[in-house]
Amino acid sequence: MHAAIEMPTDRDPRQAEEAAAVKRTTVFDIDSVTVSYGGVPAVRDIAFDVGEREITALIGPSGCGKSTLLRCLNRMNDLIPGAHVEGRVLYHGEDLYGPRVDPVQVRKLIGMVFQKPNPFPKSIYDNIAFGPRVVGMSGDLDEIVERALERAALWDEVKDRLDQNAFGMSGGQQQRLCIARALAIEPDTILMDEPCSALDPISTGKIEDLMIELKQRYSIVIVTHNMQQAARVSDRTAFFTVEVDEGGQHRSGRVVEFDDTEKIFTNPADERTEAYVTGRVG
């Protein structure tokens, strides 16, 4: 059911060689990014990159700014008064915070799934159709809805009750509905902010399977508190930690280590990473 079973295909030596030969295409190039709220930095000097059709996991203790950073990647931080982003976030080589970039257009290309499932108080159909309607997608809406639900592995469960209220679904189904909703507008990247933290292990497993499935088409960045989850699904992992500055006044998040997930979990370079992934600190 889990990645552990599916991973061997990824690790097939021939494929691995091919993967190494093909140069990784970068979706996000994050360079010395600092995000502050009201002048106080929440994360400082963050640098890592996100590869195309890969799952990149952001892990680390609570309050280390993983979600803050994630929200920079589709400019959701713009909605918080007093939030300020410094540094450079390149998306396919283009500065997301450039003067001509419209955050609304950014969010059409970079979807987001939130920690708590947040379906709209509408029918299952309307939840999916909302995105295509507002972005003005052409094509048959019924087909778009069906395709999105199929990609989120939800179609068979809900096809007979599309007109029913989304709140009648289980938590796990609601979260997959939110994923389907994000897929409906054909994004290129999906950001997931602890998508399984409110779900039971079975629903979590389904979403993890889905993420691996979605990797064929989309690039995914996931924030998670669950280290097994990061190990199971992600290709590369950034480990965040909280640092207190010299005066002891401010706490801000930093990236300690960024590498292939396998290396982070088996042979980390930094001892803080090791302490965290082995459960000694956390």
């Binding site: 609304v104 979807g111 947040n118 379906p119 108080p121 909302f130 909703r181």
Partner: protein, 315 residues
């Protein structure tokens, strides 16, 4: 439990068990009498308060029912007012006047009230002093006496800049100003009650702020907005004082129109009849109270039906 009931061996153990049992009895037994009495007195006061409120309303309804009963007929709704033959007079023009005035009020307060509420909740940055100033004053305006709005209506709507004259539209505009704060406050509450996760979800899908408000926030807020409109309309229907200042006249024998000619409304007409000494007018006034309650209940039932329809759809 069986094990616990077995007689303990030593005297000391027996003492301990007895103590424990006594302790349990004290904890789980009846509450202290004084405490219970205080609870009952409080409950009695609450019942008294409810009774007091309902008795007043009940007495009014019973009085209107008994007094007005002789005149209850279809004629009451279809015949015009008359001071010569009060036995056959009705409230036709006053009912129409009320419908015109209230219709105008609704047309004004829904877009303006909801618009103001959306601005204050979704767009206004509270860090700017002028937005806080507007907020404070909306709350203050809700407490201004209605007669003050009557004078305002007379000076600015009937005469002055707007110069509508003494017509139903002027009455609508005046009453709309009077009840707008209520609508704005209720709509703001309703908009604020929509979880921010709904807004985030919509924005994350590439919706603009306006699309988010228009397609997600407003539909979810409709039941609350309608509640505010119901309260506002109920208040506007019963107002007589400001309307007397903006030209609601007591005798209109032809059906009113919105922008020309005199108009009357139910409370104004009832007030006029009730001040006359003759018994027959008293009966007519009492019957008018029933007519007004019927109109009010009909309008409110429609609004409540509308609200329930939306609530079923969105919860």
């Amino acid at each position: 439990m069986a094990a616990g009931d077995r007689a303990p061996d030593t005297a000391r153990a027996r003492l301990a068990v007895a103590g424990a049992r006594a302790g349990t009895a004290a904890t789980l037994g009846r509450t202290d009498r004084g405490e219970r009495a205080r609870g009952l007195i409080f409950l009695a006061l609450l019942v008294l308060a409810v009774t007091f409120a309902l008795t007043g309303l009940g007495a009014l309804l019973v009085w209107a029912g008994i007094e007005g009963a002789p005149r209850l007929s279809l004629e009451l709704f279809t015949a015009g007012p008359s001071s010569l033959s009060p036995e056959t007079a009705g409230y036709r023009t006053a009912i129409l006047g009320t419908l015109y005035v209230i219709g105008g009020v609704i047309l004004l307060i829904v877009p303006i009230g909801v618009g103001a509420a959306i601005y204050l909740e979704e767009y206004a940055d509270r860090r700017h002093w002028w937005n806080r100033f507007v907020e404070l004053n909306v709350q203050n305006l809700a407490g201004v006496p209605s007669i003050v709005y009557g004078i305002l209506g007379l000076a600015f709507i009937v005469r002055g800049p707007a110069s509508f004259g003494f017509v139903a539209a002027a009455g609508s505009a005046t009453l709309a100003l009077l009840v707008l704060p209520t609508v704005i406050l209720a709509s703001r509450e309703a908009i604020r009650a929509v979880p921010s996760s709904v807004r985030e979800g919509a924005l994350a899908l590439g919706a603009t702020q306006w699309q988010t408000i228009r397609r997600q926030v407003l539909p979810a807020a409709i039941p609350g907005v309608l509640t505010g409109v119901i309260l506002a309309v109920a208040r506007a229907i019963g107002e007589a004082a400001p309307l007397l200042l903006v030209g609601a006249v007591t005798f209109v024998t032809v059906d009113p129109s919105f922008f020309e000619g005199g108009y009357s409304t139910l409370p104004v007409q009832i007030f006029n009849y009730a001040t006359r000494p003759q018994e027959v007018f008293q009966v007519l006034a009492a019957a008018g109270v029933i007519v007004m309650l019927v109109v009010l209940l009909a309008m409110n039932s429609f609004a409540i039906w509308l609200r329930n329809r939306y609530e079923r759809q969105f919860s």
